[in-house]
């Protein structure tokens, strides 16, 4: 069961730290770190890996029947943590320019984060065990039904957005490799 909001605080603290590092780089170089230099580029890569973990790890654990590493609640917390920190780093990677495909990808990232918040809100409406299994009887049937309907609806929206985001992100990465990284 997801109790408290420690992962939110942890994510918030991590983002503060990253912001501090970002601020220090700005102070030293006197410019916004461009997306292409070591710091900006590194943030994009790490942020994207975190986002990729957000997308895959919780989902794999949730659906795995053979390997059951850790509790579901931990992976959900990890999903929320990486789902906040990863996009934040990607946002900083953007160097605050939002044109072209890269801009669109950033926009999709922002949307999926907001969507994730909404999903978390709906998710916590349903009482669950430590492994995320629903506990029946604590909520009225009507309320529970409504919650499940909402959660299904949210899933139907959240997952396509995520897929669109990752397609866009992969194309962006491919273009960056083509036009910049492997540029001769």
């Amino acid at each position: 069961m997801l109790r408290g909001n420690r992962e939110l605080w942890l994510a918030f603290f991590t983002m503060i730290m990253i912001t501090a590092v970002y601020g220090a780089v700005v102070m030293v170089t006197h410019e916004i770190p461009p997306a292409s230099d070591v710091f900006g580029h590194g943030m994009g890569i790490v942020g994207f890996i975190l986002m990729l973990m957000t997308e895959t790890l919780y989902s794999l654990r949730k659906r795995s029947r053979s390997v059951r590493w850790g509790r579901m609640s931990f992976w959900l917390k990890f999903h929320i943590f990486t789902g906040l920190v990863g996009p934040y780093m990607v946002l900083l990677h953007s160097s605050w320019k939002f044109n072209g495909l890269a801009g669109a990808t950033t926009l999709l990232t922002a949307i999926i984060v907001v969507s994730g918040f909404i999903g978390r809100y709906i998710f916590t409406r349903i009482p669950r065990t430590m492994d995320g299994l629903e506990i029946e009887g604590t909520l009225s049937q009507e309320a529970l039904k409504q919650a499940r309907r909402l959660l299904a609806l949210w899933h139907a929206v959240h997952i396509p957005i995520g897929m669109a985001l990752f397609v866009s992100a992969f194309v962006h990465i491919g273009a960056a490799l083509y036009y910049a990284t492997f540029l001769k």
Partner: protein, 731 residues
């Protein structure tokens, strides 16, 4: 049992992914890859290259610049497809591209030329590169560090685009340090700094004008640049500046062109004044005082050409002769001073000799009248003698010195001798009076008389004119002729207080203090002493009761007359010789009874008058041999003196004289017959020692056998005399 799969691969998820992929592909086809652009390309229109004015015109054609990673071509290859000139520049070290290619052959175009930074963003970004800035025509030598010691950045001067430069940037920085200068400088030379400045030097503190042909000295060094380089707006303008004087000083010409344009022939950069015109190049050489005269004194109104050269043109108003002596001042005056006249006075009837030579002309020609000046002495010289000596000064004086007088005083009744010759005329001829001067000594020397008239007024009777001290008085004419030491004595020793008359003649009058005898011999010193010396006294001691004989005559007076006491000196020997008595008074006080005055050892004592007349060897014995302890009471028995010489050890008593005589010990006369053993026969001739062996006399045995050995071996007894007699053993 569901297989493990990602939760995102739902139908809607996969569908969304496909839609997204298609949408991206559609955009890519439609926009030519522009959606991958990280930013707008530069749209600033330039020269046409590759058919376009800017990169923005080929924004969709990514491959125009971007080669695919798998292609052999690089992006730089794509650059030079259009920018062909850069290919050539890279081979030329005199171009920025050539120099930078040489510095780093691996450098890529985009290292300095970034794109996708916006339509107006600069295409050149070389911060951090060792860009050879001097190739742009501008050195960064003087722009290494800013005032705060920070290194310069490209953007400090160029702003965001290093390919452009706004010259107002110069003013905005340099105006901060000296705004007034910048304003003046820009007004003087225009706003294009780069026309003159190339950054190599500051052109202010480090600029060395002397490196050029035209060195800045004197006032030129103080001039502002603009004073000469007027209206110069480029380095070329500065170099075109003429170096001849007139280029700058045409307006300063006070001579209005009359003296040509070469100011430097007279003036120097030290200043217009003083000028150094070589006047000697003109017909009028400047000598002496003329050389110091200001130019304008002769060249009034700065007129130089045609200035007349004759004296009167300038000096007409200086002529004190009112034209009487003509207009050619130089016939007499030199150029040094007016007083420096070269008139040959010897051509007149009055040649100048001696002091007359140095006398200022005006002394004689006092109203500057030269003609008809009288030549008589008195016409110029006032007579201090008031005519007593006549009108002809030259009779005594000469022109060299008034004091150098040659008056022959011997012609007068008073010939000058000795000190009179050196005396100043005025010392006798006071008040300039010469005639009627009295010739007697007292007329002049009454005040010098130290004798207060005791010798009258004729000083010359004793003194002569050489010196007062040179006195010639004949003392023998007085009643007291000077002899011996008296003749060397200073007069005042006897004539104290300058009193001569009535000086007493007695010795004691002068010598009372010299009397060493305290008056014992009266006041007539000359009774013993004479004038040659006090010590040379002649006293006849024989006139006293004690005539001096023997050694007494050679004794110094004071030996007997100690303390200078003569009278009452006792005449007995002991009065003087008590200390000499070696007999301790044994013979009384009359030494003369034995000793003679010749010497002490000359004694006259008759021993035969004593109870012990000296006979034999006694007469030759030294007195002290017997009188070792004095004379009185000396014993007369032999043993008193001879006890130690008794060889008989007292065997014969103490009266040596009973056997021995004073003539010698050896002459002993012992009468053996007085003993119990009279000597008879051969006994009388036997040596004493034969029987008295070892000097033993007393107790000598009288038996025969005591001396004689018995040839009968005792057969006949011991009395030899029973058979033998002393006449011989044979008898």
């Amino acid at each position: 049992m569901r297989s493990a799969r990602l939760g995102c691969f739902t139908f809607t998820g996969i569908f969304a992914a496909l839609v997204t992929a298609f949408a991206i592909a559609g955009f890519a086809v439609a926009s030519g890859g522009q959606m991958f652009s990280p930013g707008a390309l530069n749209a600033v229109a330039g020269d046409v290259l590759g058919g376009v004015h800017s990169h923005a015109e080929i924004a969709g054609a990514c491959s125009a610049c971007h080669a695919a990673p798998w292609e052999a071509q690089t992006m730089d290859d794509r650059c030079v497809v259009c920018h062909q000139d850069v290919t050539f520049q890279m081979q030329d070290l005199m171009t920025p591209h050539g120099r930078m290619y040489a510095i780093d052959p691996a450098a890529e175009c985009r290292a300095c030329h970034p794109e996708h930074r916006g339509e107006t963003a600069s295409l050149t970004e070389i911060e951090g590169w060792k860009y050879p800035h001097e190739l742009s025509g501008y050195f960064l030598t003087a722009h290494q560090f800013k005032a705060e010691n920070d290194p310069f950045k490209c953007t400090d001067c160029h702003g965001s685009d290093v390919t452009t430069f706004d010259e107002n940037t110069c003013e905005s920085c340099h105006g901060q340090s000296d705004q007034a200068f910048m304003v003046d400088h820009i007004l003087a030379y225009g706003e294009s700094c780069l026309n003159c400045h190339n950054g190599y030097d500051s052109m202010v503190t480090g600029f060395n004008h002397d490196a050029f042909q035209f060195k800045l000295t004197g006032k030129h060094a103080e001039a502002a640049c603009v004073d000469c380089h007027r209206g110069g707006h480029s380095l070329a303008d500065f170099r075109m500046q003429g170096q001849d004087c007139a280029s700058c000083h045409l307006d300063d010409d006070a001579h209005e062109g009359m003296l040509g344009k070469d100011c430097a022939s007279c003036h120097t950069p030290e200043g217009w004044s003083p000028s150094h015109f070589d006047h000697n190049r003109s017909a009028f050489k400047l000598t002496a005082a003329h050389a110091d005269v200001a130019c304008r004194a002769c060249h009034k109104d700065n007129l130089f050409k045609g200035t007349p050269a004759d004296c009167f043109s300038c000096h007409a108003q200086d002529d004190p002769h009112q034209g009487v002596l003509g207009t050619n001042c130089a016939s007499c005056h030199k150029a040094t001073t007016w007083q420096d006249v070269t008139f040959d006075h010897s051509k007149t009837a009055f040649a100048l000799v001696g002091s007359h030579v140095n006398v200022a002309c005006l002394k004689c020609h006092n109203d500057l009248t030269f003609k008809g000046t009288p030549t008589a002495c008195v016409s110029c010289h006032a007579d201090v003698h008031q005519g007593q000596m006549g009108m002809d000064c030259a009779k005594c004086h000469n022109p060299f010195d008034w004091k150098d007088v040659h008056f022959d005083h011997s012609q007068t009744g008073f010939k000058l001798v000795g000190a009179h010759q050196g005396a100043a005329c005025s010392s006798c001829h006071a008040n300039g009076r010469f005639k009627g001067t009295p010739s007697n000594c007292f007329a002049c020397h009454s005040a010098d008389d130290k004798h207060n008239g005791q010798f009258g007024t004729d000083c010359g009777s004793c003194h002569n004119p050489s010196s007062w001290k040179d006195v010639n008085f004949d003392h023998s004419r007085t009643g007291f002729p000077l002899s011996g030491s008296h003749s060397g004595v200073a007069c005042k020793n006897c004539h104290s207080n300058g009193v001569f008359k009535g000086t007493p003649r007695e010795c004691v009058a002068c010598h009372a203090a010299d009397d060493a005898h305290n008056g014992q011999f009266g006041t007539v010193c000359s009774a013993c002493h004479n004038t040659s010396s006090w010590k040379n006294a002649t006293f006849d001691h024989s006139k006293t009761g004690f005539p001096l004989a023997g050694s007494h005559s050679g004794v110094a007076c004071k030996n007997c007359h100690s303390n200078g006491v003569f009278k009452g000196t006792p005449s007995n020997c002991y009065a003087c010789h008590a200390g000499n008595d070696k007999h301790n008074g044994q013979f009384g006080t009359d030494c003369g009874s034995c000793h003679k005055p010749t010497r002490w050892s000359d004694v006259n004592f008759n021993h035969n008058n004593t109870g012990f007349p000296l006979n034999g060897k006694h007469a030759g014995v030294q007195c002290k041999a017997c009188h070792s302890n004095g004379y009185q009471g000396t014993p007369s028995n032999c043993y008193a003196c001879h006890a130690s010489k008794d060889k008989h050890n007292g065997q014969f008593g103490t009266d040596c004289g009973s056997c021995h005589s004073p003539n010698g010990w050896g002459n002993a006369s012992f009468n053996h017959n007085q003993t119990g053993f009279p000597l008879e026969g051969k006994h009388a001739k036997v040596d004493c020692k034969k029987c008295h062996q070892n000097g033993v006399y007393k107790g000598t045995p009288s038996q025969c056998a005591a001396c004689h050995q018995d040839k009968h071996n005792g057969e006949k007894g011991t009395d030899c005399a029973a058979c033998h007699s002393p006449k011989g053993w044979g008898n």
